[in-house]
Amino acid sequence: MDSITTAASVVAAGLAVGLGAIGPGIGQGSAAQGAVEGIARQPEAEGKIRGTLLLSFAFMESLTIYGLVVALVLLFANPFAG
């Protein structure tokens, strides 16, 4: 792998993780805030709130995982490496 490909892969990996984590991070923060407020208001609905939070977190965090996987593939199993 030549140096330009290596440098581009490292920069792209950083961008993939960094940019891919912005949206899910904001979304998870607001979801957790709403869930904790909901549990504080209605403690009897704690199970349902936590279950919904688990499902929504799993879907949101998969976006971060996509970026993470792309970055790891670029770093450790680069398809552009000659």
């Binding site: 869930a35 199970g47 499902l55 993470l68």
Partner: protein, 165 residues
């Protein structure tokens, strides 16, 4: 009569100081004197949280069972139609996905009790998975990643079956 029982149930009624403690209160005006018992069941505060915790645990168990079923189907499909090594990679990825989901559920379960934020410890699982798969030549990357994401169909099925969960 109903007012007396409501007062007793609500705890606003305090017996007189001269009345003997331990002796049940007897209503004097009724022909058949009956012991006054609280007609309204007082709710124990811990019951709500215990039942909701059980609800959350049962939801996790349903999701894990669905994930195991989806993993079994996908694994059999891979063994029959693709490759034996690809099936091993898929199973490794699927169990990593279950571990990831377990850690996520654990961190969400402790949200508001022990911690104020959801931990990111579970994100180490796909990192370790990709590192292991790239280091071992017997394993393949794409089936492992597909296996890791096999928890999503079970989540979608669970969400479709019980939208309020």
């Amino acid at each position: 009569m109903e007012h007396w029982s409501l007062l007793l149930a609500s705890g606003l009624y305090t017996p007189e100081k001269n009345s003997p403690t331990g002796v049940p209160f007897v209503c004097p005006n009724t022909e058949t004197s009956k012991e006054l018992k609280p007609s309204i069941e007082t709710e124990i505060p811990g019951n709500h949280s215990r039942s909701s915790v059980n609800e959350y645990v049962s939801l996790q168990q349903r999701i894990f069972k669905l994930t195991f079923v989806v993993t079994a189907f996908a694994g059999m499909f891979t063994i029959i139609f693709v490759d034996y090594h690809a099936a091993i990679s898929l199973f490794l990825g699927a169990f990593s996905g279950i571990l990831y989901l377990r850690l996520l559920a654990k961190s969400i379960g402790s949200l508001g009790k022990n911690s104020t934020s959801v931990s990111k410890f579970q994100l180490l699982v796909p990192v370790v998975l990709v590192l292991v798969v790239t280091k071992l030549p017997e394993l393949q990357l794409i089936p492992a990643l597909v296996g890791f994401l096999l928890y999503k169909p079970s989540l979608i099925i669970q969400f479709l079956l019980e939208p309020s969960a």
